[in-house]
């Protein structure tokens, strides 16, 4: 791997992160009204108390000073105190991350597996009825917002047929441990992950189908077919392998976009992960928490993009060193 390329990417990612911290900082200074006053539910709060709270959150200083302060705290890993949970934002978020990663992991896995298989079938049978059926379904799925999916799934499988729980991550106050607990969580995961999967699956179908079609029209496949190589062997040895590359890119991009699906699904099913936390922070106008969540989402996306870039160069040596081809592919 080219060191110059990697260094360049690292620098770019770092600059982006820096800019993100600035945007993150600035947005929350644009809030109408007085965010500090919102922290107090009691209307009789005195001006002194408000001022004291401003000092505590460093909001009494001029903007530049506030930003420097913010960056200093960030460097120390401090994201402030949540207005609403009264705990350090970092702690609140850290607790939620594994739950969200679990949900993303399962959804992505299901989407890739099911999507690739269906896409491969569609591409292989290009032009047939199977193809158009799969295409039609996937485009329809792609058009349904995940929150709407979530609602429909919930109404169907948690209410009318109460097979799955209405939401949450575990049965409240169950006292389950070990394998029971794992099964309990798995059961709570089914509906939220499917509401995400059904949306992303469309992309995987489209992408696998088109790369499958590309590959099938390549001369070497035609040759292989002419030589009488078994169909399944062509499928697995040549076609799928070539479809693999765009899959990695789209997965990277998808994780970035998945932040959206995660927020919707976690909100509908009150899955206590980052997405629901973000939604609650918005609803309760908990600005430090909102800022923290946004930062986590943004940093995750930057890092993922960086990782995808690296992976891509590793797999496909044709990628130009300055990385242009990756983004414009």
């Amino acid at each position: 791997m080219n060191i110059k390329f990697v260094a360049r990417k690292i620098l770019a990612s770092f600059l982006t992160l820096l800019a993100i911290t600035f945007v993150n900082f600035a947005i929350f200074r644009m809030v109408p009204g007085d965010p500090i006053r919102m922290m107090f539910k009691d209307p009789r709060v005195s001006i002194e108390d408000i001022e004291a709270m401003k000092v505590k959150y460093g909001l009494d200083k001029p903007m530049m000073g506030q930003y420097i302060n913010y960056m200093k705290n960030l460097a120390k890993g401090e994201l402030g105190i949540s207005f609403w949970q009264k705990k350090p934002v970092g702690k609140v978020i850290a607790e939620r991350i594994p739950r969200t990663l679990g949900l993303i992991g399962l959804s992505l896995f299901l989407a890739v597996v099911i999507g690739t298989i269906l896409g491969a079938v569609a591409g292989w049978k290009g032009g047939s009825k199977t193809d158009s059926a799969i295409m039609g379904i996937s485009m329809t799925l792609y058009s349904v917002p995940s929150f709407a999916f979530g609602i429909l799934l919930m109404l169907a499988f948690a209410y009318h047929f109460a097979i799955f729980p209405l939401g949450g991550i575990e049965t409240p106050a169950s006292g389950f441990t070990g394998i029971r607990k794992i099964f309990d969580i798995a059961r709570h995961m089914v509906l939220p992950s499917f509401s995400i999967v059904l949306w992303y699956i469309g992309q995987y179908i489209l992408i696998t189908r088109s790369s499958m079609k590309d590959v099938l029209s390549q001369p070497y496949i035609v040759t292989a077919r002419a030589k009488g190589v078994r169909e399944r062997r062509i499928l697995t040895r040549h076609a799928l392998r070539n479809a693999f590359l765009p899959l990695i890119t789209i997965t990277g991009v998808n994780i970035a976009f998945m932040t959206g699906g995660i927020i919707e699904a976690e909100t509908v099913f009150s899955w206590p992960g980052l997405g629901r936390l973000f939604y609650d922070a918005v609803m309760k106008r908990d600005y430090p928490l909102l800022q923290g969540c946004f930062l986590v989402f943004a940093v995750a996306v930057v890092i993922l993009n960086f990782a995808v870039d690296l992976l891509y160069t590793r797999i496909d040596p044709r990628v130009r060193i300055n990385g242009e081809a990756v983004n414009e592919g």
């Binding site: 993100i20 644009m30 329809t140 058009s143 609602i151 932040t259 927020i263 918005v282 989402f297 943004a298």
Partner: protein
């Protein structure tokens, strides 16, 4: 002097191909259907969608008076769906125009000027593309407050960069073409050249992006409204869903939940179909393959 050699297709060809494309046809039909609804909303047996009805008609199912039943203020769901199409289409188109215009402008300048200008603009574009979209929209909507135009602004801020990037790469490849070199030798200035030669060739990309933007906007509006960040004083498909969810009566009023979902989905599908058709047609080789 104009060099037409690179112009894509004649308009007639384009439409002929478009209508013979199955997806293009279907998408166009659905789209026309919604345009029809939006244009003729007042005469499609509707009542003003915001005005509450009488108390004995709260949450009634579909019947002869209200084709799609009523909501929790006895307002006609049918009228809300029809008038909601106006909101969705208007914000869809306005956002598409804003983002495509901004994106194209940035893309053209970056691609044409090159050098340091290009570098700076593209870093900005990169930066915006890196930001997680829905969270950014949610944060902006929460900070800016609920109004339909804020939603347009929010979606525009988040969505313009992808157009910029596509336009730029198109411009870059066009710049290398001999005919551009030729006019440049003839002494045309940048602006003239951009307007007369580059821009027309970027239109297809702009069009495809515009279509994509409309779908993304409709989607984003519905999500934001659902999350309670939409404009509660404007009846749109998103706010209909939001009110339904908030009312606590969603499970017992399917006639209220399904119409907005069906509309959102079919309008997005129609635009996806349109987009696919246009992309197919503009793909080099399609014309020959289809025998035009």
């Amino acid at each position: 002097m104009r060099v037409n050699s690179y112009k894509l297709q004649k308009a007639g060809d384009f439409w002929a191909m478009f209508f013979s494309h199955r997806m293009g046809r279907t998408g166009f039909l659905i789209f026309c259907f919604f345009i029809f609804l939006a244009l003729f909303a007042p005469i499609l047996r509707t009542v003003p969608p915001e005005i509450s009805g009488s108390a004995d008609r709260i949450l009634t199912g579909p019947d002869g008076i209200s084709w799609l039943g009523t909501d929790d203020l006895a307002r006609d769901v049918w009228s809300q769906v029809i008038f909601g199409s106006r909101v969705s289409l208007i914000i869809g188109f306005v956002t598409a125009i804003i983002t495509v215009f901004t994106g194209t402008l940035v893309g053209l300048v970056a691609g044409f000027k090159g050098g340091i200008v290009d570098e700076i603009l593209m870093r900005i574009v990169d930066f915006f593309m890196m930001l997680p979209h829905l969270p950014l929209m949610i944060v902006l909507a929460a900070v800016m407050g609920a109004s339909i135009w804020n939603i347009v602004i929010v979606i525009s801020i988040v969505s313009w960069p992808s157009t910029a990037r596509l336009v730029r790469s198109q411009v870059l490849s066009l710049k290398e073409r001999p005919f551009v070199e030729a006019i440049r030798c003839l002494g045309a200035n940048d602006i003239t050249m951009m307007m007369s030669e580059i821009l027309p060739n970027v239109f297809p990309v702009m069009f495809a992006q515009g279509v994509l933007m409309v779908t993304e906007t409709i989607y984003a509006e519905s999500v934001l409204s659902f999350l309670g960040l939409g404009d509660p004083t404007t009846i749109s498909w998103g706010t209909m869903l939001h009110f339904c969810f908030e009312s606590g009566a969603m499970a017992r009023s399917p006639w209220w939940v399904f119409p907005p979902i069906v509309c959102i989905v079919s309008l997005i599908i129609s635009f996806s179909f349109l987009g696919t058709a246009v992309t197919d047609i503009l793909t080099p080789g399609y014309k020959e393959k289809m025998g035009y």
